[in-house]
Symmetry: C2
Subunit: 424 residues, 2 copies
Amino acid sequence: MNNTQPLKGFRDFLPSEAEARNQVFDKVRTVFERYGFLPLETPAIEYKEVLSGKYGKEGEKLMYQFQDQGGRDVALRYDLTVPLARVIAQYPEDLPIPFKRYQIAPVWRADRPQKGRFREFTQCDIDVVGTSAILADAEVIACLNSSFKALGIEDVIVRVNNRKVLDGLMKAADVPVKKSVEAIRALDKIDKIGKEAVQKELSDLGVGAKEQKKLFELLEVGLEDSADIESKLDEIEGAGELAELVEALLDMEVRNYRIDLSLARGLDYYTGTIFEFILPDAADFGSVAGGGRYDKLLGMFSGKAVPAVGGSIGADRLLDALEELELVKYDLVSDVLVCNLDEKLEEKYLKVVQELRAAGIRTDFYYEPVKLDKQLKYADKKSVNFAVLIGEEEEKTEEATVKNLTTGKQERVKQKDLVKKLKG
Amino acid sequence: MNNTQPLKGFRDFLPSEAEARNQVFDKVRTVFERYGFLPLETPAIEYKEVLSGKYGKEGEKLMYQFQDQGGRDVALRYDLTVPLARVIAQYPEDLPIPFKRYQIAPVWRADRPQKGRFREFTQCDIDVVGTSAILADAEVIACLNSSFKALGIEDVIVRVNNRKVLDGLMKAADVPVKKSVEAIRALDKIDKIGKEAVQKELSDLGVGAKEQKKLFELLEVGLEDSADIESKLDEIEGAGELAELVEALLDMEVRNYRIDLSLARGLDYYTGTIFEFILPDAADFGSVAGGGRYDKLLGMFSGKAVPAVGGSIGADRLLDALEELELVKYDLVSDVLVCNLDEKLEEKYLKVVQELRAAGIRTDFYYEPVKLDKQLKYADKKSVNFAVLIGEEEEKTEEATVKNLTTGKQERVKQKDLVKKLKG
């Protein structure tokens, strides 16, 4: 058996990359908790009937499913929303309502692997369940926005819209109801394919020239970055909600929003607010997070409609974007290597190692007194910052040589000052 | 579809429990990194041929396996060691050697669920690959030991032994080679079934009375807690290694070891040092961590033997033990709730919320100005520490009432001093 590659569409994360991922997840988690979201964990495997029929025909095909040893039909977690719906139905008495939860976990989809798309990938989800308050919509957006800031991303834009406004636009432009969903899908592509191509699609759908003109006039209003959206769209249904969202965003100091009346996203899914985050400096990665209000979905298990709003960061795409923006460090995983120069001093080395570790310094020790060159090569491969050298000479004066492995500079310090030196 | 329970043997972790788990994993990870271990992540799904034949007949049965959409035979991760072996073979040039890696991740086994045994559970593994130095064995033990200390466990004992010593004991007591493995297995049970029952098993195996007497004499030597093991066991093979381990443990300030010559563990697996951690205050949980040196296993993919030593914390059992020892907090998941007393003050509330969050305080806000009672009930269910109340009266003097939700005490503070008050 010689095939030691991971499965197609799956990845090994070697230390520097795994460390970078940990750092990103830690930062995101800290922000989520700061916004009052609580952690929830659900199993990787669910009864198939829990997941089945929730993701459309396409999703059903991509779901990993099998029979377990007990003959049960089971499936691997496909997203974090359906398990949330199950939890909401299963523990009605145990959860504070509104239930604000986050989950950062891998999901599995047997999709065709391609650049940036994997069969195992991590989602970072936040959701507020059990309230229709638009403040919750704003808080989800503000929280995701803060996550990007915490990751050091300066330039991020959140496009916002409202499903009801989309329907209202169609009505106001006299687009027939049965054409409106497809017309919305066409509008959604305006950034990608341009106005003319959208016009052609609308014409093919039978949307008349007069209606199209009105539609584009209304869209123009939206594309101006304005908090006064309500009066400008006063004849449009849902504009009040959108205006309320924008007001709340401003109260939460989110100013980097852009009202975009062409934004659609998951039409079978969202019922109110919709949003997505883009990074203008890394625009080719598309949307790195998105979400909205979905007041009908969570009732799937209980039969009772449960209002909810949520958002999700696509961690893998975000990590790729962070790499492009040079905002993620892929190399810093250990602080110090205590070198092994003299077998007789081993006890001393271990004492120093223990002291550094007790002070919280990530410290490595070379087990054998081999050539220093080999030890420093090891330190280099591990991206260690400092080497600590104690030979016979240093030991005489209770000193140590500290070598900065980035600059090559070295200096003598008292052994008792090592912690101070290396922590500073 | 009304079954909203997780699959049998699988668990949902609601917020307070998920939070406790996160805290434990964070502490363990911090210690692992402090000891110079680097993170590694491998996929949840592997080619079946990668895992197959590695866990014995019993393991093969417990492995979750299926065909994916592309007709590939795949299996879910069963432990973290075989994926490590695959990684070692796949990236020979990319890894620093010795390769010190940790992995904290769920594994899946279709075992019969029972108290403390689940089909999805988390392992926390550290391994040092590519060195035969006994210092590495000691470092693995010291690192796990520090993890338990970091979790606040005062009383922990690590039982240590060496596979070569076990073989040596059998030789010295003239136990025939073909009986020795079974005799070792019998000895391993001495703590559980007592000396007499072990003697009976040994007799049944045909181990003579004289040999048994010698065996128990030698065991007695080991059971004394002695660093002078080498001279006492001078005729026993492997005693030198065990003595070297003990010396290194003392150099690393690990004094809570106990030489236990009856300790066996995975006889097909370990080749040298073996160890396991027990918590005398929660002894019924059995061993909460264990490991040893396994110099033959990692060559499975490359064909070349790769020396290695490692250990694993069984996180689920450990969490149960921590709960029994009252060392894990299951309720503290948010710091502050800013109450909503007056719709007109909403902008002020959101300003305060933003300030607290910016200061790193985990802050929640009640979306609607419902009765205070209902808001405080929500805070209670969420185990929030403090409620911040700003009504018309407080607002006049730019003050806020801070209510300690544990003690019920409340006091007035200036709004501008809220961060200081709540961070202190």
